[in-house]
Assembly symmetry: D2
Homo-oligomer: 326 residues x 4
């Protein structure tokens, strides 16, 4: 089956949540203590997905709060240059900063992030800064789980979902779970469940669904499906790392997409590039099998490169990559 | 029509939210500056409703957090004495206090409350302190809007609702709006809508529904009904003060209950006594017309007395009161 | 020796710090859970000392922040009626409340206080609200230790001391230690030392000096004297409960005052009434021996009565009390 | 005159306060939005002074709190490598981060810093983490004004000063004023005055003394001297930018040191390098005239280079620089 949505909209996708700064180690395969220089990129899952979608040719918009400083201006300028509509970006006026992610690449499989997330601008998006007229211009609204971690961003996102449902905008929930900021896994579970029950499409790793279900040990996909389809989901995507990803439909159909092997530089950015390409495919009317391939290919391309946002592939790159592996 | 629910449950009603201390002016009809002595009562809407319900013969339980101090012990002891099951009351261990309400009665129609709500124990109920086995023992779960004002109480209540729905416990939402603690009316509106959409019965004043709908000027009941019945409500009660109250059913039936005239001492406690008696009536299988009468009568009795909790009437008092005014 | 100070000043004493509400159990010799009514009084050590001083005939002023509510208006009105100059009282505009002290009198020797001190107005006195022209009108400035517990009250008090020293106003430090609000005894010790080193007179119980010196076990008065006189103190008063109190002079002279036996109702208010009468005596030019007697007599009178502020004695009562026990 | 101090100590200097991370723009003479890569250095005034002192041959120690992360480990390792004793560095265990300073060099005279100072580890140094046995090993203790900006670092520094005075360690107060973190200039003024009154040497720019004195318009050095010498200062250094710096003695002697012209890259690091070299000179027994020259030369060398810490000069470089300009 293919995904259906309101075709008659100006924007293909609006993402809501954080736009931050990644500071990627230029000297890698070593502890960050030994990295002396860093390159700056735009980061943050919903910003990356907007950038990735735009690069794939979608009309993408972004709702989020950025600082009134050099990092904020860089974020806005960069996203604009990549074609993202930033008309609904809000500039913080209380001296808050952009979130930072210093990346450490000890080895291709041992990556970690040193986060600066104290009092960051993105978590201070207010409900009053979410614009009904803007939301209703979109085919789909992509919500990032991290934006639910703290008030008032949490309420801004709940309001955006409520407006999306009112105006027949499909709600995509990218679980995007980051333990920092959340008080407890139980708190995360409460909001993830609440939002998942309201969403049309849910995308995440198996680990992230375990957090949503507040499980101590790994859950199984059948239980997750029973739960989400009972609340009206149309499509559920669960990613299992090297074992590939699955797309579930309410009618019981399951699609499996394999993961592509690649020359991994680091693991960051895989999820955002996956989501961008998967959503591009379903918005373009491709079937779910193809969408799974696009997602996997896009993720494989990004993990072989230095950045998350700057490395987002074009349609041609994705299709070439898939052809090369067929 | 009559209200239907799972009959086979040990407890008629569980209320969740705050149990506090009322300090009622002994010298009244004057500014509080001139009041020199105060009498202590248990207060807080969900505590009052549990007490009121118990006094009417229902088996009532209470979920909430009380301080580890003399006020906390008084609350627990008093509610126990009134027959409320306090087995799921939680004692705070972080030095927080009970909320306080000093009442000022300038005249029967000019009452105000001086609140102490900073860092109060009740708002620190944790989701992990809400017990699934307890929730599923109840016919109905009554949720107080004020308990949604702050984390982690907010999440504890959302969890309780989710458990209630899982176990076929009817969810009653008493809007109980108090502006303090909330950051903005828009924030209140977001959570009130979220919870109202999940509730089987919603009870409040017209003013409170206006807050739920984030309206700047008074809304109308028809719009409210359209909204709530679209989300699955079974019964909506809207109170209009001296103009009486209305119970709406999804099939379009509207019941009107008149307000009884009485010798008003103060306005406090009207809502809690209304809810107790209304719920008593519907749980006892009485029709909605009768339930509206019970609610109004109970409210009239309480506003003519000094306290809210201690003054909660018995069934005999309510029925006598109604007979006297027929 | 007698205490010397600048005679040519309009006000005898200004106290700085908290003015709160005491809610004293009307039913006592029982746990507070069983107390049903409370009587309201003005409380808080520096407010009590201002009231006590005024009642003794001194011209007293008070610097502190009160809430913009009924309790705040009661405090201001009451202090005014007792003759205290409240022209430099500041009204909070951020919705903060008055501190509350519910007293529990289990028995005359087992008294405890249930405090409400979260976000109270008095601790939000700003340095900019301390007026140089006012400070310089006084003979002495009495500083309460509790006002050092939190910013910005802490800085307001440090500024007041600095202005007092600039204008030759004697600084009296009443240690008035209350563990709540302080983060640690070490933090208390740091500020108590800092202020004691700047003070002309220090008054406290032996326990309070132990906190100032951050001692784990009781210290001795000789060490305390060595320390304080090295920093310029003129007089140090140490209270030892039933063993009486001592006044130390830098020249080595020690005065001992006995404690008077009395019919104790509760222990509250002893320190404030002691300080009022002791300071009254030294400001009136009486010798230290006499001042110690006045302090003890005043304390004995207050502990036999229900309140702290309202029970403050007159000079006649104190002198009669002393005569009766001679 | 020359500066006198207790010669018989293991460490020449201990600095107390922050050790942070500088991220210096690699591409400069442009807005930071256009800078894409940054080089990482240790930063923070007291850390820089410890590093600078050590490089000049002094035995230097550092007291401060660093994060338990890659940045913290880098700071400790780097300072160790530069010869600074880090035995009394404390590692934060509450997940706090290092402060960050992204430098923007628009032009040599238009430099600005984008600070990350939310909840940083250095401001959480506890009084209990300041070690009496360590303090008493030093000839001088250098206190950075910024460490007074917030509790508990504020109290840790006050405790360190108190211990220094107890053990005859000279206290040097480097005003090091940074407006962020402070609530108001009046608050800064209160703590700066308190600490300056306790210090043996005070060093700062004229602007910083204006903050200390809470002046709205520029103050004059004579008034500042009158104030500080009345409280026991031995030496006061006031820097006037290109107009050079002045060292004042209590006996009225004034020494003037000129500023050296240099090829300025950026203005950062001037104060720290000045302090390091000035203190090196007076600890080495050089006269004040010479110390002023050393300070100015060191500052001129650092502002011509990319970093603050890494660029700290050796004695040979300073002396060569002075000879070249004589």
């Amino acid at each position: 089956m293919a995904f259906t949505f309101n075709q008659d909209r100006e924007l293909d996708i609006i993402t809501i949540g954080r736009a931050c700064i990644d500071l990627n180690a230029n000297e890698y395969n070593r502890p960050m203590e030994e990295t002396m220089t860093f390159t700056k990129y735009v980061g943050g899952s919903p910003a990356n997905i907007a950038i990735g979608s735009s690069k794939l040719g979608l009309k993408a918009g972004f709702i989020g709060k950025i600082p009134k400083d050099q990092h904020g201006r860089f974020i806005q300028r960069y996203m604009n240059e990549k074609g993202v509509d930033t008309s609904n970006m809000v500039v913080d006026t209380d001296g808050r900063r952009a979130g930072l992610a210093f990346t450490e690449i000890l080895s291709p499989s041992e990556c970690s992030i040193l986060m600066y997330r104290e009092n960051v601008a993105d978590l201070y998006l207010e409900p009053s800064e979410v614009n009904e007229d803007y939301i209703k211009k979109a085919k789909i609204l992509l919500v990032s789980g991290t934006a639910l971690a703290l008030s008032p961003s949490r309420e801004a996102v709940i309001k955006a979902i409520s407006l999306a449902k009112k105006h027949d905008v499909k709600v995509i929930f990218e679980l995007d779970y980051r333990p920092y900021t959340w008080h407890s896994q139980e708190e995360t579970s409460i909001y993830y469940s609440l939002v998942a029950e309201l969403s049309d499409v849910v995308i995440g790793t198996r680990d992230e669904y375990d957090v949503m279900e507040n499980l101590a040990s790994p859950g199984n996909n059948d239980e997750t499906m029973k739960y989400l389809f009972a609340h009206g989901a149309e499509l559920v995507v669960i990613k299992h790392g090297v074992a590939g990803s699955y797309a579930y439909e309410p009618n019981g159909t399951v699609h499996h997409g394999q993961a592509y092997k690649t020359n991994v530089l680091k693991t960051f950015g895989a999820g955002d590039s996956y989501a961008s390409a998967f959503l591009y495919a379903i918005i373009s009317g491709k079937d779910y099998e193809t969408a799974l391939k696009y997602g996997s290919a896009s993720a494989s391309i990004v993990v072989s490169k230095h950045s998350s946002s700057e490395a987002m592939p074009t349609v041609q790159e994705i299709e070439q990559f898939i052809r090369d592996r067929s």
